[in-house]
Symmetry: C2
Subunit: 158 residues, 2 copies
């Protein structure tokens, strides 16, 4: 009755699970060791660093970090305690909170990015030809859309 997976599908499903489970663990040690950051924390700082004014609404930041608002809120609290991020009220919507990178936070990613990118390059991209990068990018797109159907981009700040 159930539509079982065929051998190739089964293999791909196991592979996707393995990659999902193990990828962070492959990249994180360098970050932890050299910068004392988790991959998620780095990602949050990186998203802020690329935003206009180095600031984003919490909801937008949550979206760009693939995270729940709750998880983000906890992490931002920690990042705030380190002095890398500040929260402020959004002038146009009293419910909203703007998270901004501090100068110290900016300095932190500037210092951290090169080592991290080098490590990502070695682990993820060195074993792939540029053609394969393109193909993977295309093939993974429908998967991502299916996993995360309302991946609409939220308007920035307000």
């Amino acid at each position: 009755m159930p539509r079982w997976l065929n051998p190739t599908e089964r293999e791909l499903w196991l592979k996707l699970n393995a990659i999902a489970t193990l990828m962070a663990g492959a990249v994180e040690p360098q970050l932890k060791r050299d910068a004392g950051l988790s991959l998620f924390e780095y990602h949050v700082l990186a998203m802020l660093s690329e935003a206009p004014d180095r600031s984003l609404l919490m909801s937008n930041l949550a979206f760009h970090s693939n995270s729940s608002l709750s998880r983000l809120s906890h992490v931002v609290t920690r990042l705030e305690k380190q002095g890398w991020v500040t929260r402020s009220a959004c002038p146009s919507d009293g419910r909203a909170t703007i998270a901004s990178l501090t100068p110290e936070g900016w300095a932190k990613i500037v210092a951290t990015a090169p080592g991290h990118v080098e490590s990502v390059r070695e682990i993820i991209f060195d074993p792939l030809a540029s053609e394969q990068v393109e193909q993977l990018n295309d093939l993974l797109q429908p998967l991502l859309e299916s996993i995360d159907p309302d991946r609409r981009v939220i308007s920035n700040q307000e």
Copy 2:
């Protein structure tokens, strides 16, 4: 100085992260709701169910579950409390532990698998043509090997 990622690489890296972060969350709700299991717990039971004698050494099971021994040990303790798994001493090596599926554990996956597979099929495979499944399988192989270099298969039971 650092070899930065080009736009396509950057896009793929963000996509891989998003998939790694969001995939479990797409599949898990059905499992939690219909069977009270996390994806990881299901996976552990499934690996046992397919092993000879429905039994595996903890180390082998950890490998097949992409997990640390510590994480597995905690989970097996919980699964034991539910009556789905038992631990026993390995006759050939006094340090090792064999985890085995109980009849109740077997009944649990038999009952759970169809719904879970259907959900995986809908979310992961329906949006992919069979040709794309093959391609993804091939393209992700080098990635997995790079992420998890010593992915040697451990000899089964002893």
